[in-house]
C-alpha cells in the first residue's frame, strides 16, 4: 500500500515535470550553496594547514618581545650568539637551531632591479624550513664562518633579475653588499595568506651582521623539535632556558615568544572552521526558503487537484492515504532538489577550488547532511498542504469546479 502511494506520488511529480523542476529550484540552490560553502571553507582550511606544514612541520620560532597577542613589542633585547650556542648545547629536545636576522634591500643585476627581503642565516635554516636547493649548492661551513659574500636566491628574485639567464656565479648587489650567486632555492609558491614565500635572498648570518646590519644581533631563532618529541615539550624547554639566560624574574612575563607553528595552524584552522560553519548556516537559510516554495506549490496543487482528491476518496482512499500521497510528493520534490543541489554544489565548488588553487575536499557528512535536511524540509513544508488535502470532504471535493 505504501509502495502504491509512493508510485502515485512519483507519477504526479512526473506528470508536471516542468513545474516540479521549478519548484525544486529553491531547494537545489539551497543545497548547492550549503555544499559549495562548506566545501570551499574546508578547502581553505586544508590550504592553510598545508601552508603551515610547508613552513616546517615541527618548527618553533623564537622572537624577542612580550606576547601582546597582536605582534610583539619592538623594544625587547635581541638574542646573541651565546643564546644560540646555549640552545644547541642545553636543549636536547630540539634538533636544528637556525639563528636569523633579516632586513630588506634593493637587489640589482645589470639593468634589472628588484626590492626584496634579505635574510642572514646558515644551512640549518634550510633544514628547519624543510627547504631544498633547486640549482647550485648550499653554503659551505667556511663561507658561513667567515662571512663570505655569497648568496642563495629565492625563485622570485631569480626570475626578476635573471629571467632566462644562468644566475650561477654571477655577482649581484643588494644595498651596499655585493655577492656571488651560488644557488637557487626551490619554489614554495604563494601562501594562502597571499604572501610570496619565494621573495627573498639568503646570505650567511655573519655576512649580514657585518656588511648590512652592522651589529651582532639575532632577530629570530628557528628551531625544529627533535623527531618524536612533542613541540609543546620543546617549547617549554626553550622557555625555561631563555628565562634563565635573560634573567626574567619568576612571576614576570617572558620578554620573548616561542611560537609553535602547529599551534598557529590549529588556531587558523579553528577560525576558518567557524567561518565555514557560519557560511553553511547562512546557505541553509536559503534551503528553508526553498522549502517554503515547495509548500506554496503543494498548496496550489491541493486546490487545483481538489476533484482528483475527491475521486480518490470516493474510490476508497482514506484520509491517511491522501496525506501520505501529498507528503511523499513534497518529499520527492525536496529530495530531487537535494540530489540535483548536491551535484550542482560539488560541481560549483570543484570549479571554484580549481580557479583559486585550493584543494577540493568534498565531505560525505555535508552531502549526507544536506540530503537529510532537504528530506526534512519536504516533510516539514509538505505536511500542512497534505493535511489540508486529507481533510477535504469527499462530497464537496467531488463537486469542486
Amino acid at each position: 500500500m505504501i509502495g502504491a502511494t509512493i508510485l502515485m506520488a512519483l507519477t504526479a511529480v512526473r506528470r508536471n515535470a516542468m513545474r516540479s523542476f521549478l519548484t525544486t529550484l529553491g531547494v537545489i540552490i539551497g543545497v548547492a550553496s550549503v555544499i559549495a560553502m562548506v566545501t570551499l571553507g574546508r578547502g581553505a582550511t586544508a590550504s592553510v594547514t598545508r601552508d603551515i606544514s610547508a613552513l616546517g612541520d615541527n618548527m618553533l620560532i623564537i622572537v624577542p618581545g612580550a606576547d601582546r597577542r597582536f605582534g610583539s613589542s619592538a623594544s625587547a633585547r635581541p638574542f646573541t650568539a651565546d643564546d644560540v650556542r646555549a640552545i644547541r648545547e642545553e636543549v636536547p629536545s630540539v634538533s636544528n637551531v637556525a639563528p636569523t636576522s633579516g632586513g630588506a634591500g634593493r637587489a640589482v643585476y645589470g639593468n634589472q632591479n628588484w626590492s626584496t627581503g634579505l635574510t642572514g642565516a646558515d644551512n640549518a635554516y634550510l633544514r628547519v624550513r624543510n627547504w631544498g636547493v633547486a640549482l647550485g649548492r648550499e653554503f659551505t661551513d667556511a663561507e658561513v664562518r667567515s662571512g663570505s659574500a655569497v648568496c642563495l636566491l629565492g625563485e622570485t628574485p631569480r626570475q626578476k633579475l635573471f629571467g632566462a639567464l644562468d644566475p650561477l656565479g654571477e655577482s649581484i648587489r643588494v644595498g651596499a653588499l655585493s655577492c656571488e650567486v651560488i644557488g637557487i632555492l626551490e619554489s614554495k609558491g604563494t601562501s594562502t595568506f597571499g604572501e610570496d614565500q619565494d621573495d627573498f635572498i639568503l646570505v650567511p648570518l655573519v655576512t649580514f651582521q657585518r656588511r648590512v646590519s652592522g651589529n651582532e644581533n639575532i632577530g629570530a631563532i628557528l628551531v625544529s623539535a627533535r623527531a618524536g618529541v612533542p613541540t609543546r615539550d620543546a617549547q617549554l624547554d626553550l622557555i625555561s632556558l631563555l628565562r634563565q639566560r635573560r634573567h626574567v624574574r619568576p612571576g614576570d612575563e617572558d620578554d620573548f615568544i616561542v611560537r609553535d607553528m602547529q599551534e598557529v595552524g590549529q588556531l587558523v584552522g579553528t577560525v576558518t572552521g567557524v567561518l565555514t560553519t557560519l557560511l553553511g548556516a547562512i546557505a541553509a537559510v536559503s534551503l528553508l526558503v526553498g522549502g517554503i516554495g515547495i509548500m506554496n506549490i503543494m498548496l496550489v496543487a491541493v486546490t487545483e487537484r481538489t476533484r482528483e482528491i475527491g475521486i480518490r476518496m470516493a474510490i476508497g482512499a482514506r484520509a491517511g492515504d491522501v496525506l501520505l500521497q501529498f507528503l511523499v510528493e513534497a518529499i520527492t520534490l525536496s529530495l530531487l532538489g537535494g540530489v540535483l543541489g548536491i551535484c550542482l554544489g560539488l560541481l560549483g565548488s570543484w570549479a571554484t577550488t580549481r580557479a583559486f588553487g585550493l584543494p577540493f575536499v568534498p565531505g560525505l557528512d555535508v552531502i549526507l547532511g544536506s540530503f537529510l535536511f532537504s528530506a526534512l524540509v519536504g516533510v516539514f513544508f509538505g505536511y500542512y498542504p497534505a493535511r489540508k488535502a486529507a481533510r477535504l470532504n469527499p462530497i464537496e471535493a467531488l463537486r469542486y469546479e
Binding site: L7, M8, R312, M313, I315, G316, A317, A319, D321
Partner: protein
Amino acid sequence: MTNLVEIRDIHKIYGYGETEVRALDGVSLDIDEGDFIAVMGPSGSGKSTFMNLLGCLDTPTSGSYRLRGVEIGRLDRDTLALLRRHQLGFVFQGFNLIARTSALENCELPLLYQGVARKERRARALDALERVGLADRAHHLPSQLSGGQQQRVAIARALVTRPAVILADEPTGNLDSARSEEIMRLLVELNEAQRITIAMVTHEPDMADFARRIVVFRDGRVTSDEARRPLPRGGDPS
C-alpha cells in the same frame, strides 16, 4: 436471506434550528442483489443526499443502513473509505477520470488502493476495459477520448473491484442522446449479463426507462417505487 441494501427510516438533517433542512425525512428502501434502480426527482428532493448515503460518502443523522447485513450508519470516515474501496463503484456525471493519466491507469487506481499486485492489477484493469469495449484505448489519456468513451472508462474503473453496488450519478448528463443510449445499454448489459447491482440517479425519464425499478423522491421522501421488470429468476448466487 438479507437484502443487499436495507435502509430503514433514514433521516438526514443539515443545520440547526431555523436553518434546519431535512434533506431526507424518513426513507426506507431495500435493494436486491442484481437490481437496477433509477432514482428520480426534482432538484432538492433529496436524491443526491440519498446517493451520498448509499455510496458511504456521508452518514445519516438517524436511521439504519445495512449493506450486506452490516450496519454502517455510524462508522467513522476511514472505515467508510474502506467500505467504498471494497464494496462500491462510482460513475459520475462529469466522468471524473484523473487527468493526464491513461485509461488503464485510471482503471488500476482502485486496485492500487486495494493493494493488488502489479501484474494482477494490470490484467484486471485490461479485463474491465474489455468489458466496456475499450481495450484498444487502454493507453489513451482522458483528453484523447470522447465523452462517451471517458464515461465507459469510468464504468470500467467502477467495475474493476467487482463491487456490490455501482452508483451512477447522472451518468448520461454530459452526453448527447446517442452516446447516452450507448452508456445505458452498457449498464443494462452489465446488469443483465453479469448481475451487477446498479443504483442510478437521473432526471431524464428516457434514461430511467432502462432500469428495472424507478424510485421517485420528493421533499426528502419516497413518493413512488415502481418495479418495471422483474428480477431474473433462479441463479441466485446466495
